[in-house]
């Protein structure tokens, strides 16, 4: 068993304005990853402003005081770099991987949009990116079968007012109502150096990065009154299962079963992660063996289970299966529930546990194989768990999970009365 899941050096500093800087040097390839985690996500959005954190992420690519509109992408790609950003309920991250000689350019670009976005933000840009995001919503959620499953699961899992109740993509009505002043205020409120972690991994040394970070980010003022998101740590159990049936243009019945578990980074979530792998990852998993092979209720490529790695409330565990031709939704749902229930009653065997741990090990090292994978992990641990060095603890913690802990966790968080079941039915069988 490895002592650490992170055998590379980690060096940290904090600028006077509160920006935390994390550096992990590795000279193997001539590339560096630059990654910024801002501790703001859709959990911060009040009623009527759903989708704003994500729409704002789009605006961050549209120019800042010293960077003309569209120049950001052009400069990074024109340096041979790859870039993107993502928003989820917890946080927003921005990242680029560039040939090492362009590190300073990447830092300059990030600093300029951290400290100088508002003056460059125009109504025209907002209107354009609002349309782009609405097209993203159509393309990813509305125009594909089962595309809205996540949008439906969240309100079933988390009650109104909970920070995870609404989906990050937001509603069309709220997006349409978004005005410029709100976004200017959004940046001033949340995009402060003391609300961010800057991580650089790869072909660069800590001293060099610390010096550059001071140079480019050092004069950006901190903000001391950043409002917290609503507290979502405790979700009151309703005592009864939540069930939703959707009849629509889908090719086969599909069932999702979801539960609230524990926040990412907690011991309980480590158990959930191993449990999910035993349950639904790979051909040796219980769901595959029982539903795809065994009773042949489900299409083989359709079964799976996974935790959604969210840190500010009990994170969801989702198991799903899609019916084989001739199998009804009810029978499939019953089969899925039975396999989930058995996690509490049928002990996980040593070979099931070894299989899950071997798969999780490879998955972990696969993320760590690239500088961008490492940078994102370090940013996460610094932002959500307070210390990037904690990244090394995750893999050993997974490998220490026991069959007894899995059975206990299943009995604790997978109870039938806490279950969310979402079923899709094709129109003609309704």
């Amino acid at each position: 068993m490895p002592d650490s899941g992170y055998p590379w050096p980690i060096e940290t500093t904090q600028l006077d304005n509160g920006l935390r800087v994390v550096v992990s040097e590795d000279r193997t390839a001539p590339a560096v990853a630059v990654n910024l985690w801002y501790d703001v996500g859709s959990r911060h959005e009040p009623d009527g402003q759903t989708g704003f954190a994500h729409l704002f992420e789009h605006l961050m690519f549209e120019g800042s005081v010293n960077v003309a509109k569209t120049e950001h992408m052009k400069l990074v790609q024109g340096s041979g770099g790859t870039l993107n950003a993502t928003t989820n309920p917890d946080r927003t991250n921005y990242f680029e991987t560039v040939p090492a000689e362009h590190l300073e350019l990447a830092l300059w670009l990030e600093a300029d949009r951290m400290g100088g976005l508002v003056p460059a933000l125009t109504q025209e840009t907002l209107d354009n990116q609002r349309e782009v995001v609405k097209n993203e919503r159509r393309q990813r959620y509305e125009n594909v079968p089962y595309g809205d499953a996540w949008l439906r699961l969240l309100p079933l899992l988390y009650p109104p007012g909970h920070p995870y109740h609404h989906a990050t993509i937001g509603s069309m009505a709220d997006l349409n109502a978004a005005d410029l002043a709100t976004f200017q205020a959004f940046h001033s409120t949340y995009y402060a150096p003391n609300n961010a972690v800057l991580t650089v991994t790869g072909d660069a040394g800590a001293d060099e990065v610390f010096k550059l970070a001071e140079r480019y980010f050092g004069a950006i003022p901190r903000r001391d009154d950043i409002p917290a998101a609503p507290d979502g740590r405790t979700v009151a159990a309703t005592g009864r299962p939540a069930v939703e049936r959707v009849t629509g243009d889908v090719p086969a019945p599909r069932v999702y079963v979801a539960h609230r578990t524990h926040p990412y980074g907690s011991p309980g979530y480590d158990v959930t992660t191993v449990l999910a792998t035993v349950l639904g990852d790979g051909r040796g998993s219980r769901l595959y063996q029982r539903l795809a092979d065994g009773e042949r209720l489900a299409q083989p490529d359709s079964v799976g289970a996974y935790g959604v790695d969210l840190a500010h409330a009990p994170a969801p565990l989702i198991a799903t299966a899609t019916a084989r031709p001739g199998v009804g939704a009810q029978r499939l749902a019953a089969g899925l529930a039975e396999v989930v229930d058995e996690l509490a009653t049928v002990p996980v065997t040593a070979s099931e546990l070894d299989r899950a741990k071997a798969m999780l090990s490879t998955q972990w090292w696969r993320q760590m194989a690239t500088v961008e994978g490492r940078a994102d992990a370090l940013g996460r641990y610094a932002t959500q768990l307070g210390d990037p060095a904690k990244v090394g603890e995750r893999l050993p913690a997974w490998l220490a999970v026991t069959a007894e802990q899995i059975a206990e966790a299943a009995a604790d968080v997978l109870r039938a009365e806490d279950r969310v079941t979402l079923t899709y039915l094709p129109e003609e069988t309704s």
């Binding site: 193997t28 390839a29 001539p30 590339a31 010293n66 569209t70 992408m73 052009k74 400069l75 790609q77 024109g78 340096s79 041979g80 790859t82 560039v98 040939p99 090492a100 000689e101 362009h102 590190l103 300073e104 350019l105 300059w108 300029d112 400290g115 209107d127 354009n128 609002r130 349309e131 782009v132 097209n135 993203e136 159509r138 393309q139 125009n143 594909v144 072909d203 140079r215 003022p221 090719p251 086969a252 790979g282 051909r283 040796g284 063996q289 092979d293 299409q299 083989p300 031709p325 070979s351 299989r355 071997a358 798969m359 090990s361 490879t362 090292w365 696969r366 194989a369 690239t370 500088v371």
Partner: protein, 448 residues
């Protein structure tokens, strides 16, 4: 002002060093390996000359069914025991199929690579192929394709491919087949395809810390029991350009977006203009800042994204544009896209655009030097297209030397806006009239 206004220039460029390549004949097959010292993950990939191009016409999807059937038990163990053995090593068999090759690979911590390659070879060389299992896998694959074809995209892709290359040819039909072609396969199709193409040794790609790996042992495991030599690959296929632009409508009632696929045939991979075409595609639609994405997303707000590229395989190639646009702007989006392709073909590209495109493509070669998977993909390119060990270093140099003259010449020669086929998968009742009115070409309905 608290920010530094001056944009910093680049630091000293790091040298580009592709890992040293080892080529070795072992046990009747070829091993091609790259050394990644200190890397604790390793990849092994068996490359077989059994791509979709080897499937008979009417048997599309054969390779996909066989790929799944390989995991339904072997001469030594049943499907469950095999799955547990592979996943107990922390890996899975990853299969991939393109026009030129069939690939099976494993990625594991380096000390487990031998065991993983033995299992890989067991599945590829000695699958059980029990008739009941093969029929079930075929039915599952047909169902999986039906699921996939319920999404926007596959039907439009099939309509474009058929229009470009002719449905009477294998390469005019979908690479992975369609739900009907897969449903029509029988057990013998699968067993014959296996005995014809999966027993030949092929090439084993290995990427990892070679100080901790024994290439001879890996090759011996991968090629054990294999036999037969290479087979003639066939020459380039010339697909004629259509005489005029045309529109094919694929109905998707109630769709909130129109899925667009625009394209025409283009040269095969070994064409001398390959690199210049790659840069043409990059300027036009290969990067976020490309012409098409800038116009349709950033200026017009019609789409979440639009891409264009030249995709060459060993025997043929195609140029294509792909996007999804809001239904209400289907016709204007097409007009803008065709207009931009025409401007690029007629007016060429600027030095600024080429500067971005070439340094992006060249820089990506550096960024991609990291993971074992990425290096394995680079080695696969060398093998499939008979390229020398220093290909990537030389490609990088020729990319950096490219100028607007070279790329504009490729755009003029290889873009054919007047011969484009425009496939629109969307709500036909809503978009038909405005497509006719747009005057881009005759509108016909897809045959299914």
């Amino acid at each position: 002002m608290t920010l530094i206004a001056a944009r910093p220039g680049p630091g000293a460029a790091r040298p580009y060093r592709f890992p040293s390549v080892v080529r070795r004949q072992v046990a009747g097959g070829q091993v091609v390996a790259a050394h990644l010292p200190g890397q604790n993950l390793a990849v092994a990939l068996l490359l077989l000359d059994a791509g979709a191009g080897r499937e008979p016409v009417g048997k599309e999807g054969l390779g996909g069914v066989l790929a799944k059937a390989l995991e339904e038990g072997t001469a030594h163990r049943d499907a469950t025991a095999f799955a547990l053995a592979v996943e107990g090593l922390g890996t899975e068999l990853v299969t991939a199929l393109d026009w030129d090759t069939f690939q099976v690979s494993v990625q594991v911590p380096v000390d487990r690579l031998n065991a993983a390659v033995e299992l890989l070879a067991e599945a590829v060389r000695t699958p059980r192929l029990d008739p009941d299992d093969v029929r079930r896998v075929r039915d599952d694959e047909a169902t999986a394709l039906r699921m996939d074809w319920a999404n926007p995209g596959p039907r439009a892709d099939a309509a474009l491919r058929g229009a470009l290359f002719g449905a009477e040819n294998r390469w005019g039909r979908p690479m992975y087949g369609d739900p009907e072609s897969v449903a029509g396969l029988d057990v013998e199709d699968v067993t014959v395809f296996h005995s014809e193409w999966f027993i030949r040794p092929g090439t084993l790609i290995v990427v990892g810390d070679l100080d901790r790996l024994d290439l001879d042992a890996l090759g011996a495991a991968a090629f054990a029991g294999a036999g037969g030599g290479p087979v003639e690959r066939g020459g380039p296929i010339e697909a004629p350009l259509p005489a005029q632009r045309r529109i094919i409508l694929v109905d998707r009632p109630g769709s909130v977006q129109s899925t667009l696929r625009l394209g025409h045939p283009s040269p095969h991979r070994a064409h001398p203009d390959h690199m210049a075409m790659m840069l043409t595609g990059t300027v036009l639609g290969g990067a976020f800042t490309s012409r098409l994405n800038h116009l349709l997303r950033e200026v017009r707000g019609y789409t979440y994204g639009i891409r264009a590229d030249f995709a060459p395989s060993r025997r043929f190639g195609r140029f294509a544009v792909a996007s999804g646009v809001q239904t209400a702007v289907t016709a204007p989006a097409l007009v803008e896209a065709v207009g931009e392709i025409t401007r690029t073909q007629v007016g060429g590209v600027t030095e600024d655009e080429v500067a971005v495109a070439r340094s992006w493509r060249a820089g990506q070669l550096s960024v991609e030097l990291q993971s074992p998977r990425a290096i394995a993909a680079a080695l696969t390119t060398l093998v499939v297209h008979d390229l020398p060990d220093d290909y990537h270093a030389r490609l990088r140099e020729s990319l950096l030397a490219a100028d607007a003259g070279l790329v504009s010449a490729a755009a003029a020669e290889h873009l054919h806006p007047e011969a484009l086929t425009l496939v629109i998968e969307g709500d036909a009742a809503v978009v038909r009239d405005e497509l006719r009115a747009a005057g881009l070409g005759e509108v016909t309905d897809a045959t299914r």
